[in-house]
Subunit: 184 residues, 2 copies
């Protein structure tokens, strides 16, 4: 028990060091020795927690993003989706270069692709469940194409973040949500 | 004059070799020696054509994408935007990993950022001019937010290409255009 605070500290240092190394070296170049040196722990300490480099990278990415399981419940689909896009904006700004790196490495490493696809699928499923809840309470039509609406919501934010740097403010988010809802 | 076909061949080899090196090594790691070796030309041949590494990378990127200046003119905004998104889809598939690399390196090299921003601005201006033509002929309201519509059009395609791999077929493109036009 006495070791617990120190262990938590080591955990945080390992995850932070992993993100730094990943940003600079990518998945192929990421070296557990370098993570250990940066975090000030031994390689053994890392391998006691993470069985593989993949586990390490995915754990550090997931730790860096807001929790997708905390679902908004504002009472209206519009309100829920606005909150959801606020969380996406936080995720994009919070992960920054790590997100760019993940995007650029898609197709390079099968194991990373699989983990990344699962991560994306979980977050899209969380958005889908908001839409399905609105269908259940009769707020929108039952035949809405949930994947398409999800693209209309997330697409503009990713595009601004990844391709050009126009600001995504609260008004912009509301307009994106209204455009997506207008299409269904 | 006798040297012309050979010179054109060398040009194509240089641009292709640059894209390959860029995909694998990024901007920081791209080495003109490696481009010369891969293209089978001398470094002097490259530097006679391109004053800098930046010129070389941007020339090879621009050469790889469909010409943005060939504007569609179908008679309707909907038709024009559908053609425009077909061209964007071709661009994304045609550039593939080069596009991912460009996206991931934003913020890393000021000179590359500036060239990339100009490239994006030119293509967005080409889309804007289609919308402005439709305003001029009274097809849509004059107070349309052109940048916003442009995000609604390009966002979903970039998102599918960069984040998840659902297919962008002709029907998808039509639905994206209809959603964007429905929002204005």
């Amino acid at each position: 028990m006495a070791g617990r605070p120190r262990s938590i500290e080591a955990d945080a240092a390992i995850l932070e060091a992993t993100l730094e190394e990943y940003k600079h070296c990518g998945y192929g170049g990421l070296c557990v020795d370098a993570v250990a040196a940066r975090a000030g722990v031994s390689k053994a300490t890392i391998y006691r927690r993470y069985a593989s480099k993949l586990d390490l990278v995915m754990a550090s990415t997931v730790a860096a993003v807001p929790d997708a399981t905390s679902q908004p419940d504002t009472g209206s689909l519009r309100g829920d989706l606005i909150q959801r896009l606020h969380a996406l904006r936080d995720l994009l700004h919070g992960t920054g270069r790590v997100m760019r790196r993940l995007v650029s490495e898609r197709g390079d490493y099968a194991e990373l692709d699989a983990a990344h696809a699962q991560f994306v699928a979980e977050r899209r499923a969380a958005t889908a469940s908001l839409i399905e809840r609105a269908i259940a309470r009769g707020e929108i039509a039952a035949d809405v194409d949930v994947a398409f609406v999800s693209d209309l919501l997330a697409g503009p934010l990713f595009y601004r973040f990844l391709v050009h740097d126009d600001v995504v403010d609260d008004t912009y988010i509301e307009r994106v949500v209204d455009a997506a809802l207008g299409a269904v």
